[in-house]
Symmetry: D2
Subunit: 338 residues, 4 copies
């Protein structure tokens, strides 16, 4: 951590700052220039609060050198983490996983049919929303418990583990009992009370990146869960909010190699929410595989025009199957199965 003092900071203030850090067991070195005094702070700075330092009026700037996260940091955990979701392994050099299914669970028959279809196409896990975060209070809010029950039935029929989004801590028991991979949606990435609650269970968590959250904030949210004791985390990029409006969001594929560098956690891509447009899903899925992603989560619907939500971004099963076939060839190029 590097701290710059303003020109003219009195020696007394400088001594106070040095003493403050030394009393926390950190080592301090001081360089003096004509216009600045610069401190270098060496040691475990993850506990230091930058904004607290800035409160001193003599401080010009604070720059963190080491990352503010520990448990998710590849520096302290050089091997890839491989997460086990009901027997499916994700991460490392394991096969690239493909998760398919509808945005919302709409009924027993519908989800069971799609489950068969995505399994036939080559998916190894089923997605489906029972609790839906909707911008409008007047939009369909999901079937709730009934939706989870239908998912469980689809799992029984096909053997596919199931993924679903948890929106509040009071439903954790239901999810721990029935859901194999618990999704934290983009809008809840910094719902810290929810993250803390998820740190106390040991079901795998699918942590989506917030609409406008930096990679560092995303990793800090994963750190919340790991700090609580749950180390089964899979990250999911689903597009960020930018000035561009011809796609729903902007898919940031460069996070794939970035996450691999900074962390040991697996990362999968959601091209459906990222683009909001089924015609872009195949090309972005192939690109994600080529970029090194550990998996894909894709919206599939038998009849997108009648979907209760997000039909515009859902693939039909045959298109989903074609994508997987092409994807397998690209997976080989990057040394992976799929």
């Amino acid at each position: 951590m590097i701290i710059t003092c303003k020109k003219g900071a009195p020696q007394e203030e400088i001594n106070k700052i040095i003493h403050n850090f030394e009393s926390q067991g950190l080592e301090v070195t001081l360089s003096r220039g004509a216009n600045y005094n610069v401190f270098g702070i060496v040691g475990d700075t993850t506990v230091v609060d930058e904004r607290k330092i800035r409160a001193n009026k003599w401080i010009e700037d604070v720059t963190r050198i080491g990352a503010p996260y520990k448990k998710v940091n590849r520096l302290f955990h050089p091997e890839d983490s491989v997460i086990d979701v009901a027997g499916i392994k994700i991460g490392g050099m394991e096969k690239i996983v493909v998760i398919g299914g509808p945005c919302s669970v709409e009924g027993r028959e519908e989800i069971c049919n799609i489950a068969e279809a995505v399994k036939d196409a080559g998916a190894c896990m089923l997605r489906g929303g029972a609790y839906k975060p909707r911008t409008s209070p007047y939009a369909f809010q999901g079937l709730g418990t009934e939706g989870i029950e239908y998912m469980v039935e689809a799992k029984k029929n096909t053997g596919l583990p199931i993924v679903s989004e948890l929106m509040s801590a009071d439903k954790i028991d239901e999810f721990v009992e029935h859901v194999d991979l618990i999704q934290v949606g983009a809008r809840n990435m910094q719902n810290f009370d929810l993250l803390k609650a998820l740190g106390k269970i040991n079901k795998p968590i699918l942590l989506k990146r917030g609409l406008s959250n930096t990679v560092e904030e995303w990793l800090m949210s994963a750190e919340y869960i790991m700090a609580g004791g749950n180390e089964n985390i899979i990250l999911c990029e689903r597009g960020i909010r930018t000035f561009e409006r011809c796609t729903r969001n902007t898919l940031d594929l460069s996070v794939v190699p970035i996450i691999k560098r900074k962390s040991h956690l697996p990362i999968i891509i959601d091209p459906s929410h990222a683009t909001g447009d089924w015609e872009l899903v195949e090309s972005m899925s192939l690109a994600a595989i080529a970029a090194g992603a550990d998996g894909l989560i894709i919206e599939v619907h038998n009849n997108p025009e009648c979907a209760w939500s997000d039909g515009a971004q859902s693939l039909k099963p045959d298109k989903f199957k074609t994508m997987i076939e092409k994807g397998r060839v690209i997976a080989e190029v990057v040394g992976r199965g799929m």
Copy 2:
């Protein structure tokens, strides 16, 4: 609502689309051009889900004409809403309210001292965080219930109503009992389960704009609370996330007249979180008043250098007082007291 069909859409599809809307009680008109067919949909389109329409492969684009919100919409409620917070009135042509206090409650004595100081300076309400949303799991998370108790004590001493942030629905009872204005933080603006829970009480809600949420999404979150039955909402702009990094966030003051045009709800400004820099707080506060804001919420600390959080953006009480004095003169120019 305007819907464009692609060139070559078969008559049968067009008829299906028309029928679909008419069966919802909406009126449809069709214009045909060389390259497009355009439908105009007239009626109560708040219940129509745009993304569902887009799922039809013949649909090129969907444009909403009327706003997707009703209860927050000024069109259907032309007079300003005035919200009563324990006797303090906010909105309309009422006095501009000034809320002051620390980021976090740090102790009984500290909050009681600041409460006296902000009251002396001219504030009419006290802010203080007991439950703190922190990016890092290793940072101070707030005193919790103890913090609320100290706030209540500060209120007893000074008579100032209190504002504090609620982070999860399981603490609602505590807040309804003790807190006068319940804050929903930026990171929870789209925590829909929390919004629904707040719709069922009738305490006033201070709804902060999310870091990268549009005005429309913000109003939709207010609509969630109003749709649940709680009409006591005050909006709060606290800066948005942009590419610029020399301020913590970018304060978007143009939302003041925009909100006044689109909604009847009051809007206040938080220049402390918006800029993250106490040296900018006075100028942005004066600008907010000049722009027509209904109030200010400002971080004040007796000793910012020792604050447990956000000291860098806290004003000392004397600077806070100076700001209020200047602000009063500007308030007069825009026809308001303060």
Copy 3:
């Protein structure tokens, strides 16, 4: 084009608006709702200025249905354009082109050596900057004419056509004489005087997307060149500016299928400037090929640590070669040579 009038617009105003459009040869239909009057305007609306319409105080909103561009629009030119750059064909189902070379030309020997190296690795064109747009006036500004001369020499030695950036219209003659593909940099994407000048020549133009320009603005800049008479345009995505800072810019690969849908022009990707980080270049290059890009432009330097500019994002020739070999296998998956 759809125009919404505010509630209460007098009939006289409405008639005036209708007459205004009809006098431009456009067809107008009017739908009336309880709160809005909506006009549909059908015909060639590319000449209509949206902002001029909005100046009428009774106008609520204006929505363009047809695109504001014609010559770049795939609707009016359904086949892919294939651009010929000194015998190399770009676009359609032609081979994916790879352009390699240094950020800046630094000397005769250096550029000639890199030219040999990129040719050996499999590149079919040489890039190199002679005129450099630098944020700081104190940074190296490029060798200018001398740099162009060295590029020409490297071309003679290797047969590789050359690409270089033109920064102002007064150097057009030099570029027309010596450069095979004239690059317009991101910062000049809306330097309209430069675009107009380039419309009058018929050398191929490589038009980079601006840091924060929408796809529509980008296509409008291409339209400027085409409207002037030069139809030889290749688009180049090089990352956009977002809130994220762990990459230099955010590479927006979804523009590949978007551009293919909206326009007939070829599109290539610059992963070097997009990421600013050579360690990300291979994965983003492979992703770009998988996404359907028509080519890649990549910074290659024999000794990146000593590069005069942008060494941090330059590949060494051996890594460049490895990337091309992997890329060829992916190109096959998407049905292309490389």
Copy 4:
């Protein structure tokens, strides 16, 4: 400047880096931690190119402590610069200037009428575009030289100095002869050839901030002009591009105190382009004055509905006059005349 080396960097590399800086006359100190080596570089680092340092594979990160600009830096020029535009003084504690006029010059009579109107309302300078940067090649491109002539005539009639936008260096002579304050538009903020050309004249320059340029880039563009020898620069904030679309751009008023802290140059605000909406111009103008701006540049048109460009954001003269009257009272609060 602070440079972090990766863990395991060989001593030889570290020595090489130290030697490299010392040979440029800079002083180097080294701190070693368990996972990092950190160099502090002290001296005139404005000439050091960060991206060149990053090219070394052992470098983890580079942080600039001192600003990369010198001549615009308040550190080396503590007093406010006051710029003289044909006798009107801008900056320091001089009167707040108000510049009014149409977006485009449309004709002799039109500009002369508006000039009288803005003078009557209290403006001290006249704006008007003769060369217009338009997104579409099919939109009105300005009257060119004819427009400048009409501006000159309006100046003769009213005595108001004139402001107009220069789009390319080949028109500099015309502007030096006739225009009092030469505007560089947002889209040309990083047209470095144009900036260099403007460094060689000594007419005052109005440098608008680019749509998505940081404050540092903006100051670096001013540095280009000052480094060339022209120290007469006025900065102009005109809104930045963000995700929000209910205003044309997002007005960033916090740059007013930020620019005052970092630089000695005056800053004025353009609320017309920032909001794109005349109904927001008054409130944003008053806010700008309260925030400490040195002036305003506002679009005024006698008949906005018929304006050839940007009518939607133009005030009528009476509204412009009302705004100035209110503004004067606020100016007093911040200790300025207007």
